[in-house]
Symmetry: C2
Subunit: 226 residues, 2 copies
Amino acid sequence: MTDVLDQDPDYRAAVVDLLGVLALGELMAFERLAEDAKLAPGITDKAELAAMAAAEFHHFERLRDRLVELGEDPAAAMEPFVTALEEFHARTAPNDWLEGLIKAYVGDGIATDFYREVSALVDPRTRELVLEVLEDTGHAEFAVDRVRKAIEADPRMAGRLALWGRRLVGEALSQAQRVAADRDALANLLVSGRVPAGFDLAEVGKMFARLTEAHTRRMAALGLSA
Amino acid sequence: MTDVLDQDPDYRAAVVDLLGVLALGELMAFERLAEDAKLAPGITDKAELAAMAAAEFHHFERLRDRLVELGEDPAAAMEPFVTALEEFHARTAPNDWLEGLIKAYVGDGIATDFYREVSALVDPRTRELVLEVLEDTGHAEFAVDRVRKAIEADPRMAGRLALWGRRLVGEALSQAQRVAADRDALANLLVSGRVPAGFDLAEVGKMFARLTEAHTRRMAALGLSA
C-alpha cells in the first residue's frame, strides 16, 4: 500500500500526521501511567500501572518504526501535536489515584474510539497498525474495578468523579478542535476521506454521536453519570 | 536448585530478600526513568529514557514471576525495602536532566556491581536470573554521551556534577547499611555466604574496594572526578 502513500502527497501527509499524533499520544500515555503509578496505594497496583505504561511504550515503538520505514523523522512527525497534548494533560492533571484511573479509562476510551473511526478511512496497512496499537492494555477492566469499589466504599465520591469525567471530555474536545484547525491534511482525511471515500459532514455528526454514546457507556460502567 | 531453597530456610529467606530488593529496585528504576523522561530536552531523548524504563519494568516482571514460582507474595517480598529505597530516591531527587542521567548511570552502576558480587554467592538458578536482570539497558552509553557533551559545552558544570556524584554514593551507602542492619538473612548471605562458602570480612573489604574503583572509573568516563 506504500504506492498510495507515494502517489498522493496530501494523503501521505495525513497518514504521517495520524501516525505522529498517535505516537506522541502513546509516549505521553506512557508518561502519564508511570506518573499515576506513583499514586498507587500499594506495590501490586503500582506494578499493574507500570505494566500498562510499558505496553503503551511498545505501541509507541511500533508507530515510530513505521514512520522511520516511511522515511519520516518521528520527532518531526510528533512535534506539531506537542502543544495540544501537553495542554490537555496539564489541564487535566489528576488530583488523586481515582482521578488518574478515570482519566486513563475515559480519556483513552474516547481517543481509541476516535482513532478506530479514522482507521476505517485509511489504507489497509496503516489501518492494521492503528488497530494494533489501540489494543486495550488491560487498563479498562482494572480502572472500572478500582473506581467502582471506591464508590461503593464512599458513595459521596460519585458527584465529584462524574464532574471530573465531564471536564475530561470538554478538554479533549477543545484540544481536538485545535488540532483539526491546525492540521489540514488530517482534518481532510477525516471529513472528505481519501481511501475509501470518507465521511461526509452528516457522517461526521453520526461519528460524534457514536463517540458520545460510547463515552456514556464507559461512565455508566464506572457507576457515574455522564 | 529449588532443593537448596527448600532445605535451608535461612538461605531461602536470603534469596527471597535478594529477589525482593532487586524487584523493588527495578520497579523504582522504572518510575525514576519515566520521571526523568519528562525532563528530556526533546522527543528523541524522551523516547530513549522511556525505552530504558520499559526495559527495567520487564526485569521487574522476571523477578516477580520467580517470586510467584517460589510460592512467595511479591509485594510482601518487596515491602521490607520500600522505606530505604524511597528514602534514597527522595534524598537524591535530581534537579535537572543531567543530574538525573548521572544518578541513573552512577547509581545503577554501583547497584549492578554490588548485585553482581552477591550473585557469586547464590545457587546457579538464582545467579542466572540476577545476572539477566542486571543487563545494561543501554543507559550507560547514553548517559556518558549526554553528560560529556554538556560538560564540553560548559566546563563550569563539572564541579557541581562531581559533588552530585559523591552525594549519590554517600546516600546509597547509608541506605545499604540500613538494609544490612535490618535484614539479617541478606546480610548473612553476603558475609558468611552459603552457596558456595562466601566472603569473609577481609573479602567484604576487598569487595568494597572493587565497588569504589568501578565507581571512580564511571565518574572518569563522565569526565568528572570521583
